[in-house]
């Protein structure tokens, strides 16, 4: 009886502790920098901001993790030359290297 009560209390504490933890923050869908936000909205968002587009979604760290693991050079190469359904330059014909790096950093959830 005492063991059962202790078990129930432990379970209750566990539940309460879980309830006390806040859910992970949803990653930001818009860059903090207004200029980058405008650029993102005009270009990458068409796929990386649309669920079921086939593209890893902006801010989805889990989806981006294996891509980030391939390194900056690979990601930049994909952005410049296209990759699978993504056309070369990812719909941003006037983006510079800095622009692409900032966009990739934002979309992969590393900041921006």
């Amino acid at each position: 009886m005492i063991a059962r009560r202790r078990f129930a209390l432990c379970l209750a504490f566990a539940v309460l502790a879980a309830c006390g933890k806040s859910a992970p923050q949803a990653p930001a869908a818009v860059p903090a920098d207004p200029k980058l936000a405008k650029l993102y909205a005009q270009t990458c968002k068409a796929c990386h901001g649309v669920p079921n587009s086939g593209a890893p979604q902006a801010g989805d760290r889990d989806a981006w993790q294996p891509r980030v693991a391939q390194g900056r050079e690979v990601l930049m190469d994909h952005a410049l030359k296209g990759y699978k359904g993504m056309p070369p330059l990812g719909a941003c014909s006037d983006c510079s290297d800095k622009d692409f790096e900032a966009l990739i950093k934002f979309m992969s959830g590393q900041g921006g």
Partner: protein, 466 residues
């Protein structure tokens, strides 16, 4: 093991090995240049078009943020400039060693007039971003192409169109536009003002300057009901004219090797919304590619015909027009499309299908068939036609397309075909001058607006004789 099974097994293995040996021309595909450091110390990033076939190494890129900035840019420009939209064209309209000019900051619905159902829209707006804001002000584009990733200027400047015997191409809905000339002048053009530039400029390949906004004649928002079904090729050719006359929008696909055609009909409706099913076109294309890789043509024909005959067609869908017209196309390709006098459409289509089936078993992408009402824009591929028919052939973006296109293109010449300005073709200036009665008039307007050739690149110089 029986001898028959042994031979069948060897055949299967051979098919596997052959599929692995044939790269379908991938090794012949052009490679984009690598980034280099220019004489000014700046890294020059290559440009490539959507499919990756076209490329260049522009000296600079510009994306002016206001009309004043664009005017100053044009006035101060040294060298040449090419406007770039979504880079969706497959022809050499964009490649330049000068400056690429993006108008992405000239976007959005700028103004609208409820009484006349017109709206003025930034030229850098993607077609995909027009439907919703227009709907919010009680308007809709009367027609749209299948792909909606092009910018408005890019689509209009190349004669891009949807399908429907009673509807013209997108540029036929243009009531006016604002043009920044290579000299930096800002011209309002319409049927009433600068009328010659209006007639020349609605389809003008980015050669007259930078068009920053268009005023379009729209219609009230409307819903479309979509039906999709397949028929035998015999039934397709026998009933096509009646179908084109009956339906608001008619898009048809002939599948290489198959003896059936797929028909997609859209018609206005008041029925309740019945949202679109998940798009399975990309899956179907992948299936066609796998079939091409692993099966000989006879087997493909059998399986495709069986599949198309017995596949359950998708349920009828009802959606607002701007959500119904376009379809996501996530598998890239290269394309050739020609526009023909309407009476030449079906006889020529039979020839194209025969060439594909007998000479090009490597092709798995569909042949697309559409109809468009004629118009009077000088460089419109539908110029002075009552109705035009269009035939588009496609090749997977990783596989060399030019041998296939070289076998199809001659079929269009005896009927005076005009290529889509953004899709692959080999027509020279002399031939284009014959196909377009107002060609010389266009060249005169171009020379007047751009005497120094700032807007030109090698391709345009070649076809314009500049």
């Amino acid at each position: 093991m029986k001898r028959r099974d042994f031979i069948a097994g060897i055949g299967a293995l051979a098919g596997t090995a052959l599929a692995g040996c044939n790269d379908y021309g991938e090794s012949r595909m052009p490679k984009a240049p690598e980034p280099v450091v220019g004489p000014d110390g700046k890294r020059r990033i290559p440009w490539q078009n959507w499919s990756g076939f076209r490329s260049c190494l522009p000296a600079d890129r510009a994306a002016p943020e206001s009309l004043d900035e664009l005017v100053a840019f044009m006035k101060n420009l040294k060298g040449t400039v090419r406007p770039v939209g979504s880079s969706h064209s497959f022809t050499e309209l964009i490649p330049t060693d000068g400056t690429l000019l993006s108008l992405r900051n000239f976007s959005g619905v700028i103004s609208h007039d409820a009484a006349s159902l017109t709206a003025t829209i930034g030229a850098g707006t993607k077609l995909a971003d027009i439907g919703e804001p227009l709907n919010a002000v009680g308007q809709a584009l009367p027609n749209m192409p299948d792909i909606d990733q092009q910018t408005l200027a890019g689509a209009l400047s190349t004669g891009t169109h949807g399908t429907g015997q009673s509807m013209g191409a997108l540029h036929s809905f243009v009531k006016g536009f604002k043009l920044v000339t290579p000299r930096g002048d800002v011209l309002e053009c319409s049927a009433q003002k600068n009328a010659e530039i209006f007639d020349a400029g609605r389809v003008s390949l980015g050669a007259l300057g930078a068009i920053v906004e268009y005023t379009l004649q729209n219609v009230p928002p409307f819903k479309l009901k979509k039906r999709t079904w397949t028929v035998t090729l015999d039934e397709f050719f026998a009933t096509y004219d009646a179908l084109a006359a009956k339906h608001y929008s008619l898009d048809c696909y002939l599948i290489p090797q198959a003896q059936r055609a797929a028909i997609i009909a859209l018609d206005p409706t008041d029925e309740p919304l019945h949202p679109r099913a998940p798009n399975r076109d990309d899956d179907l294309v992948q299936m066609l590619r796998i079939g091409r890789n692993w099966l000989w043509p006879g087997a493909r024909r059998f399986l495709l015909d069986e599949f198309m005959d017995h596949d359950t067609p998708p349920p009828e869908e009802v959606e607002w027009s701007w959500k119904m017209f376009p379809t996501p196309r996530n598998i890239r390709f290269n394309e050739m499309e020609y526009h023909l006098p309407r009476e030449a459409l079906l006889p020529t289509l039979k020839q194209v299908k025969d060439v594909v089936d007998t000479k090009h078993p490597e092709i798995f992408f569909v042949i697309e068939v559409r109809v468009v009402k004629g118009d009077q824009a000088w460089l419109s591929p539908f110029y002075d036609h009552a109705t035009s028919g269009s035939i588009a052939v496609h090749q997977y973006y990783k596989e060399y397309p030019l041998d296939y296109f070289a076998d199809v293109e001659p079929l269009y010449q005896s009927v005076g075909g005009r290529p889509h300005w953004g899709k692959m073709n080999t027509l020279d200036g002399a031939t284009l001058a014959q196909r377009y009665p107002r060609w010389k008039d266009f060249l005169d307007v171009r020379r007047h607006l751009d005497p120094d050739g700032k807007m030109l690149n090698p391709y345009l110089r070649k076809i314009f004789g500049a």
